[in-house]
Amino acid sequence: MTTDLVARFVKRFRGGPVVAADLAGGGVTALFGPSGCGKTTTLRCLAGLDRPDDGEIRLGGELWFDAARRVCLRPQQRGVGFLFQDYALFPHLTVGGNVAFGLAGLPRADRLRRAADALDRLGIGGLEGRYPHQVSGGQQQRVALARVLVCRPRLLLLDEPLVALDAPTRDALRPELRRLLASISVPVVLVTHDRAEAAALADQVVVLDHGAVVQRGTTADVFARPAGLTAARIVGVETVHPGRVLRAAEGLAVVAVGRAEVVAVAPVEGPRDVYACVRGEDVILLAGGDGHMVASARNQLSAVVTAVTPEGPLVRVGLDAGFLLTALVTRPAADELGLAVGTRVTALVKAQAVHLIPRPVNDPVS
């Protein structure tokens, strides 16, 4: 049984940006966007910590906020679970005291028992007597989750739930958090600017930019097919290049991009201006630059490496393939191909991996 969250509101800041949120549905929703785009403000309005200027918020059949009817429930009346970015564990209370904090109206023994149960369920039983500064970052995150979940919230709000952790802990906790979010039957809204986090945790993604919703949809859809240039930039599509559809037939479009022609799977008809988007992980590199072989990938582009930038376990490869194309390959692959500036390679891109965004006629081409 899940209740749906419906939130459509506007929050104005004096001399600052306007945040217009528009959320609906259950499941796990990720608010995705660069810092300062209004993600956290949206969460705070949902929790009742900030008051929107206009609009309404309801959960299930219950009205939480209505600007027209001057209804604004206090945080205490909403029953939200708010996980703060750095967890905000009470430093003067033990882990057990923190988790039992919201359990009012129960005898002390019951409260502590329920706190201990919650810690057990999150795999950190036995830490009750420690203070927050005596446990690790990953444990603090789970203590904060336990403190929120033990109160049985009706809406769970997570503000960058993994950002305060180091990379290995983050990678370890991500699947665990996914399982937890899938197992609870309340709507979850989480804020993140990390693509991997949104992809791993959320069912649907709402892309925000400068306080406005740019795109919404299922996680896979939003990341593979951004609706516009802004969304493509925010979700981090590596290659976005203006082009023009030359001809289209049977669902395949041939697009002139720079000096090259690429084939895309796209339901367009006739010539029109577009942006061609290719994600870096969808580009396969082959040694040698002849660009002629028999392969299923429709786009076989001979290219020259223009830049090689290591990024953690991956290498970002800039290519001149008649237009600027970016590929993400693993380090061993880059070593094996001997990638360096000037190396000639063939870039393979499946037609399905080329996503076309309509481009307004008078849009300046950079």
């Binding site: 929790a47 009742g48 910590l49 206090r74 945080p75 205490q76 029953g79 939200v80 679970g81 708010f82 703060f84 905000a88 009470f90 430093p91 003067h92 904090f101 919201g102 009012a104 203070y131 403190r147 929120v148 109160c151």
Partner: protein
């Protein structure tokens, strides 16, 4: 040592500190959390006694509570006597003079507590008052303790306002600091030296205690 004066001093310090805890904590919490712009006016009024000579404050208090002012007559009708030259009189004067010594450290302590702790407690369903008692107050405690010690110690050493409002009535308004002044006037340097040394020792212990608590930072 004038033990009657020591007793008056002790009761004055206890009373002043108690009254300032009761009134200063809510006032400081309001100052630390409000976003109203006219709070600067309140802040200025609270700070004023730090700069004004205590004699000036005592002078106005004397005028306001004397038999010639409406306020003074009201008090006289209600309590059967006027405030000057009574213990209640020096207590009120002392509370006013010590306002900044209590409210400023209290407000600084509340401001230093990250607002998100209170917000986290609200989201866990705990009322504003409950959050204040269970989160904000314990976290602000080292700063509040510093304010309490400072107020107590400063009241023990208060001179100007006590002399202006209370005069020098033994066993009623004669405090240790007034006794030192009185002894020196009477050329009784031995008695003055004993009392003065006692006040120095007390002040030193009080200041050392505040620093010790501040450095521990209220860690459990």
């Amino acid at each position: 040592m004038d033990w009657a004066a020591a007793k008056v001093t002790l009761w004055l310090a206890v009373g002043t500190t108690g009254l300032l805890l009761a009134t200063g904590l809510p006032l400081a919490y309001w100052l630390a959390t409000t976003r109203r712009r006219w709070k600067v006016v309140v802040e200025a009024v609270v700070t004023l006694p730090l700069i004004l000579p205590p004699t000036v404050l005592g002078f106005y208090l004397l005028l306001a509570s004397g038999p010639h002012s409406p306020l003074g007559r009201a008090i006289e009708t209600a309590a059967g006597r006027t405030l000057p030259f009574t213990f209640a009189g020096i207590l009120i004067g002392s509370v006013l003079v010590n306002l900044p010594f209590a409210v400023r450290p209290f407000a600084a302590a509340f401001s230093a507590v990250d607002r998100r702790y209170a917000e986290a407690a609200w989201c866990l369903g705990v009322s504003r008052l409950g959050t204040f008692a269970r989160v904000t107050l314990p976290l602000a405690w080292p700063g509040i303790f510093a304010g309490v010690v400072l107020t107590f110690a400063h009241t023990v050493g208060e001179f100007g306002v006590v002399l202006m409002v209370g005069g020098n009535v033994p066993g009623v308004t004669r405090t240790l600091s007034v006794a030192v002044y009185d002894d020196v006037q009477a050329l009784d340097y031995d008695s003055a030296a004993t009392t003065a040394a006692g006040l120095v020792a007390f002040a030193f212990v009080a200041v050392a205690l505040t620093h010790f608590v501040q450095r521990r930072g209220g860690r459990p």
